[in-house]
């Protein structure tokens, strides 16, 4: 009993000593003595996936954000208040994402949410942001309806990720040109059977036909997400013998698919268009990357071919000992918007911060012209660098990238929104 009292007394003495030395230091330094309450850190809650098959999402998301936050803190934070990132593992479960978001805000003093979950989790977290009124920046969800659908829109939710509709228009426009040039009439799709796979494929085929009407879809394969064995899909594809194939498989699935396709010599028999190859997760994982796969960029340190982009990639690599990937740049972007918003609004209050971020334009190595904009009307990212090219098996993996014209994207996106009664 007495030992505990002694310890308590000791603690008190230490506290007083700390306070005194702090005051002395402050007086010596000549700065005004700032109260501890004002120095309270700005905590940002980040529910993300840190285990299981999509654990890479969490790792790369955190890395992307933390690089930006460190720079912000090094420059003094927000009037001396440092930003602190609190990341928690949702294990990929949407109900856990909902629970964690609420806990981070209600019990752990987080004033802002960085949603680094996947698309299903994003909807769950979106509901929490609606309920609690905190600002949420969706970092990874590419589901267009999250921001395009006015029924889901709330003033305090933003998206810093690429969008399915943009990617599909870009893909369709590039593939249409190639189809015309090489006479690719018979097309087949092989995409994962879930919302992202189905929406992305359907939109791609629509825009392919828009840019090159003389195409025919001769077959479709729908392997399950995380399915390890693509043999049945591959043999089906070989039966049908299309001239070109589209796939939006990603991550480990795409790696396995490429490995398995290669042993059937599939890439020699048709042109392959995939949205997701040009990402370092794939490019560095696949041991024998075939030449000539058409792909849109997810993240490449050589596109845009600017010093700023190369520098960011080198910094990331040096710090985390791995290549930056798609989620890395998306999270860095989302973090930057919020941090710039904090500076502009001077406050963490949701309405002030949202008003500051809405319509904001920032300088960024990932912009198509060096800038990125958080479009005001639907609170989503536009003008990010997006382009297509063909692969080679060694670095830089995609030497020539044809950038896509954003005016074309805007035009067709507006038509798509009208068609879906979003505007």
């Amino acid at each position: 009993m007495s030992k505990r009292c002694d310890a308590k007394r000791r603690d008190h003495r230490l506290n007083r000593r700390e306070l005194l030395s702090g005051a002395v230091a402050a007086a010596v330094a000549g700065f005004p003595f700032v109260s501890r309450a004002q120095m309270k850190p700005i905590r940002i809650g980040m529910p993300t996936i840190q285990s299981g098959r999509a654990a890479m999402v969490g790792a790369s998301s955190r890395n992307g954000c933390s690089m930006e936050i460190e720079k912000f803190n090094a420059a003094g934070g927000l009037g001396g208040r440092m930003v602190e990132l609190v990341a928690r593992d949702t294990k990929g479960k949407p109900e856990e994402a909902a629970r964690l978001s609420r806990e981070l805000v209600n019990s752990d003093g987080c004033e802002i949410l960085f949603d680094a979950e996947s698309s299903a989790g994003a909807f769950a977290i979106h509901e929490v942001a609606k309920d609690l009124g905190v600002l949420v920046m969706h970092m990874n969800s590419e589901t267009s309806s999250l921001t395009a659908d006015p029924k889901l829109r709330i003033p305090n939710a933003f998206r810093a990720a690429r969008q399915g509709i943009h990617d599909s228009i870009a893909a369709g426009s590039y593939a249409g040109k190639i189809a015309k040039a090489k006479g690719l009439k018979k097309w087949l799709s092989c995409s994962p059977d879930y919302a992202y796979g189905r929406d992305s494929t359907q939109l791609f085929l629509e825009y392919l036909k828009h840019f090159q009407p003389d195409v025919e879809v001769v077959g479709e394969a729908w392997p399950k997400l995380y399915q390890p064995d693509y043999t049945d899909a591959l043999t089906k594809i070989l039966q049908i013998k299309p001239q070109a194939m589209y796939s939006c498989l990603w991550g480990g699935d795409l790696t396995a698919f490429i490995d398995q396709s290669a042993i059937y010599n599939l890439f020699a028999q048709m042109e392959v268009f995939t949205i997701n190859v040009a990402d370092y997760t794939i490019l560095t994982a696949v041991k024998n990357l075939p030449k000539g796969i058409h792909s849109g960029n997810r993240y490449l340190s050589t596109f845009p071919k600017t010093e700023a982009n190369a520098k960011w990639a080198a910094e990331y690599r040096a710090k985390f000992n791995e290549f930056p990937i798609n989620w890395s740049w998306e999270n860095a972007t989302g973090a930057k918007f919020v941090l710039e918003g904090l500076k502009k609004a001077g406050s963490t209050e949701a309405k002030k911060l949202s008003d500051a971020i809405r319509g904001m334009k920032i300088e960024s190595p990932f912009g198509a012209d060096g800038t990125l904009t958080m479009r005001a009307e639907d609170q989503t990212l536009v003008n990010y660098a997006t382009g297509w090219g063909q692969t080679i098996p060694t670095e830089p993996f995609m030497p020539e990238v044809t950038p896509v014209d954003w005016q074309v994207i805007y035009e067709l996106e507006t038509a798509w929104k009208k068609k879906n009664n979003y505007i």
């Binding site: 890479m56 479709e220 049945d232 089906k236 396995a256 010599n265 024998n288």
Partner: protein
């Protein structure tokens, strides 16, 4: 649903060859995993829910050993033996404590092990998915049989697994050891009264199950992506196979795996969006009509 495509396929020789080989490929790897599950249940009356983790370990071990030695053969053997040892430890230290407990308690224990292993491989090897790449020996263009396409590596897999299936079947039915194992499955008390240490038999069967699953993981590695949690994808299918084939029967596991493989490969053509549902439907039908499975013993 795409029934015309299915009808087309069934009437074309090249399609039949390609899809059947595809079914064989899917089935044979599944067999290696399911055989272990089936044996373990047949002899120990334990449903090894953690079997998928054995498979995952096999894949990671082959990755590491292949990276160090550049010999696929060595890597596969090392992986299989490594997981066999793990199976032994798992049985002796963990599972043996819950023999006779409720099935649900065994499920809980296996869940704990799965959680630990999934996290451990992430800590040791990292969260990103890895790829082994096709070993140089198999980097050849595929064979053409009857108009259908058969990759070299898959042919090797099919033949090797068939060999193992035959060896396993013979070992169980013809050797003395096999007789002991079968006797323990039927009446462990009697076998123990005859002076044979049933504990050794239990451990041995678990080791064999581990060996088979580790081998499956290692052999699948060149054509899979290796990541934490990859065991999930095989364990559900291997249970479906075990149920359909009959628990405790290696022949049942073989037939069940081939059946599932063929359902998958032809199902992808006829029912592209409902292939998984098809497998559960098949499982339900078997359970309703003959619960003990195609080759299982009644009672």
């Amino acid at each position: 649903m795409d029934l015309p495509a299915l009808a087309n396929c069934v009437t074309s020789l090249s399609c039949i060859v390609t899809q059947s080989t595809s079914g064989l490929i899917i089935g044979m790897l599944l067999f290696l995993v399911a055989a272990g599950v089936s044996l373990i249940f047949g002899v120990l009356k334990v449903i090894n829910f953690a079997h998928g983790s054995f498979y995952m370990l096999g894949a990671y071990l082959v990755l590491t050993v292949y990276g160090l030695s550049d010999s696929f053969l060595l890597a596969v053997i090392a992986a299989a033996l490594g997981v066999a040892v793990f199976g032994l430890l798992f049985e002796r230290l963990i599972i043996s404590r819950v023999y006779g407990s409720q099935v649900l308690m065994q499920l809980l224990v296996c869940y704990g092990v799965i959680l630990i292993l999934d996290d451990l491989v992430k800590i040791i090897w990292g969260p990103e998915f890895k790829s082994l790449g096709m070993p140089a020996a198999f980097q050849k263009p595929p064979y053409l049989l009857g108009g259908g396409v058969v990759p070299v590596y898959y042919l090797f897999l099919i033949l090797l697994t068939l060999l193992i299936a035959v060896a396993l079947g013979l070992a169980i039915t013809r050797t003395r050891l096999g007789k002991i194992v079968r006797a323990v499955a039927i009446n462990p008390g009697m076998v123990s009264a005859l002076g044979i240490n049933t504990g050794y038999v239990y451990a041995g069967v678990f080791m064999l199950g581990g060996l088979l699953a580790g081998l499956a993981g290692a052999l699948a590695a060149p054509v899979r992506s290796i990541v934490s949690g990859m065991g999930l994808s095989v364990v559900v299918e291997s249970f479906i196979v075990t149920v359909i084939g009959g628990m405790g029967s290696v022949a049942g596991a073989l037939v069940g795996s081939l059946l599932i493989g063929l359902v998958r490969s032809f199902g992808t053509i006829g029912f592209p969006l409902f292939t998984e549902g098809l497998m559960f439907l098949l499982m339900a039908v078997v359970l309703v009509l003959k619960p003990s499975g195609l080759f299982g013993r009644e009672g």
